[in-house]
Amino acid sequence: MVLRRTLAWSAALCGVLLSVVLVSAALGYAAIGPLDVAYVLLNGIRVPALGGSGVTWTRPFGFEVATTTGLIVTRIRLPRIALGAIVGFALALAGAVMQGFFRNPMADPSIIGVSSGAAVGAVAFIVLPLSVPFGRSAFAFVGALLAAFTVYLIATEGGRTPVATLLLAGVALQTFLGAAISFLLLHAGDDLETAVYWLMGHLHDSTWGRVRLALPVVLVFFVVLLAYARDLNVLLLGEEEAHTLGIDVERTKRVLLATSSVVTAAAVSVAGVIGFVGLIVPHAMRLVVGPDHRILLPTSALAGAVFLVATDTVARSGAAEVPVGIVTAALGAPFFLYLLRNREVHAL
């Protein structure tokens, strides 16, 4: 029953994602029709076939598309769309987990300091005279995990990690890291613009390389989180009751925290701090599909992908491109207020 609902919702959201991708790839400075985009995508499909000399890859489709069109779609637009989808997927997934974990619909993926840690790492890399391939992402990733781990250590005493302590430790560390970021920005000099642009969260310099960095991490940990979806449901009853229902509460909390931190870190390290996706999307999906995490986690993740691809398309369609973080916040906040008001009306 749950499985059938999950599959139906996921299939529908995949359909929506595909159409958003087609539209997004068609929009931009050079006018390209959605049909051409579809041709380019189909031309890219390779099918394995067993021949005399082992496995050979053949391309079943050979539609006529102008070379420049093909290049624009595959080299410029698709990497950005793919990265946007992955980042949206990751942030909404981690947001859904954190809201369940903290039993609070206002929690978001950066609540235990992951984003602040990533920001310190990335800004430090931008400001310091270093040159390593993917160095900025690596610094951000490590910074994010260090911050999460620090918060966890501060909040843990005698093998127990009370959720309220975790929340407060997260707030305290975020404030501290905020100071560190401000200090680094003061000494940024010529790099100030790059650093601030990164902090706003954008998908401007997306490459297939970044997609290859983030995708495996997000997918692997997505599967881990799915495996813990039922435990997350039981945790919503409260920790004592979860314990009496046979859940090893502290271990489960560790797994959930670590996994969602890695997923968030993967997203933030390639795209900067993009706010509101991880707060709004799970919240909205919970209103639609209900609180069961077995359905909520995959649908939130897919809806997050749809949301970020769509908002990034808006972000780059204006006269001057703006960081997508600004658009998600500008669209997200009013939508959130709308949900809040509507819920109150329902409650009355």
Binding site: L236, T244, P291
Partner: protein, 402 residues
């Protein structure tokens, strides 16, 4: 099934349980009773492994609870907590299905066993008709039954209930405890913390009385529920009688006897005398009674609430020593109140007493007794404040009863 071996628990620095030993056999239905803060909930929480004892050992079905995994304990012990707060809007059926958690592997989906367990749990707790509703829409009592259903779906040999009837209406109070009784008869071991002593005595086959973190008494309800024990545990005077319908002990808490209060001796028998005894005790007067025939209504009430009683075998002349004992009580009392039929030595004692009264509303008061209201009685005893407090109630009651 559950064995506690000199268990001690400290929460923070405060000792909550001290040297508690308890052995609950399979198929027993044990009630934990005791005042607030006596350690009932903590005792339940050591049995399901939420609280680890600082001393002693807790074993369920031979397994040490502290060293077993939560999953193993979850297959042995199901718990219905005092209050449940569910953060998001799950359906009732989903919440009940969560009871199956310890029986399912991480990647297993619900099988027929799971579905049968959930359905029967919904049926037995009378919650099936709101299975599809959100848990948020239910009242506190309905939610408590859903949590009970979840514990039943867990299908464990041991069931722990913490105040299972606290927010239930009388119908579901009785249904819930009858269900627990039924489960115990079918071989499950049930331990319930219960505040209502009458319900505990009626449904449980054993009662453990907790006070200040240790077990004061443990045994069948009739043996445990005595006025002295209840007074030392709860610090309140009680009358322990017998419920006329179920024949099980019935406990009535009484108002405090004031320091330097008065002592009144009641002469008479039958329901009139019984009612007068109750009325005086309820007002905080120390009452002595006698001579009453054994088995008489007044005798039963007097045994439950009176300070001292002199009784004698019915239908035969009262022995001299009984009459003398009653005379001694009359001497020590501040006043004598006559109620109900009076004859033999009782009549003689009443006539000889300088301060014999009959309470307003008594049928057929003898001519030698002054008929007074409660307030006038207290005035006569020199207790002005009590007289003041009783007056409006008596006037009101008197007007209505006549």
């Amino acid at each position: 099934m559950i064995e506690l071996d000199s268990v001690g628990v400290e929460l923070g620095e405060t000792p909550v349980l001290e040297d508690v030993s308890l052995d609950v056999p399979e198929g027993a239905f044990l009630a934990l009773v005791g005042p607030n803060g006596a350690g009932k909930t903590t005792l339940l929480r050591t049995c399901n492994g939420i609280v680890s004892p600082t001393a002693g050992q807790v074993r369920v079905d031979g397994h040490d609870v502290t060293s077993s995994s939560p999953r193993d304990v979850g297959r042995l012990v199901a718990t219905v907590p005092q209050t449940t707060r569910i953060a998001f809007e799950f359906d009732v059926a989903d919440v009940v299905a969560m009871g199956r958690t310890p029986h399912r592997g991480r990647f297993e989906t619900a099988d027929d066993d799971d579905r049968t367990a959930v359905e029967s749990a919904l049926e037995r707790t009378d919650t099936a008709r709101f299975a599809d509703r959100s848990i948020d829409e239910l009242s506190g009592g309905e939610r408590q039954r859903v949590v009970l259903a979840r514990a039943l779906a867990q299908e464990t040999p041991v069931l722990l209930l913490d105040e299972p009837t606290a927010s239930l209406d009388i119908n579901h109070q009785v249904r819930t405890l009858a269900l627990a009784r039924e489960l115990a008869t079918a071989g499950r071991t049930v331990v319930a913390a219960i505040h209502d002593l009458d319900l505990a005595a009626r449904f449980c086959d054993r009662i453990a009385l907790l006070s200040d973190g240790s077990i004061l008494a443990d045994g069948p309800p009739e043996a445990v529920l005595t006025a002295e024990r209840l007074e030392s545990a709860f610090g309140v005077r009680t009358a322990v009688g017998t419920n006329p319908v179920t024949g099980t002990p019935a406990v009535t808490p009484l108002a405090d006897e004031p320091p330097g209060g008065h002592r009144v001796h009641v002469l008479g028998r039958g329901t009139d005398a019984a009612r007068t005894i109750g009325r005086l005790v309820e007002r905080g007067v120390a009452v002595t009674v006698g001579v009453v025939p054994e088995g008489d209504a007044a005798s039963v009430t007097a045994r439950a609430v009176a300070r001292e009683v002199v009784s004698a075998p019915p239908f035969e002349p009262v022995a001299d020593d009984r009459a003398a004992a009653a005379a001694d009580l009359v001497d020590r009392a501040d006043a004598v109140v006559v109620a109900g039929p009076i004859e033999g030595p009782n009549e003689r004692l009443a006539r000889e007493s300088a301060r014999a009264f009959a309470l307003h509303g008594a049928s057929d008061p003898p001519e030698y007794a002054d008929t007074v209201t409660d307030a006038e009685l207290f005035e006569a005893l020199g207790d002005a404040s009590r007289a003041e407090r009783t007056r409006p109630r008596v006037d009101d009651g008197g007007a209505r009863s006549e």
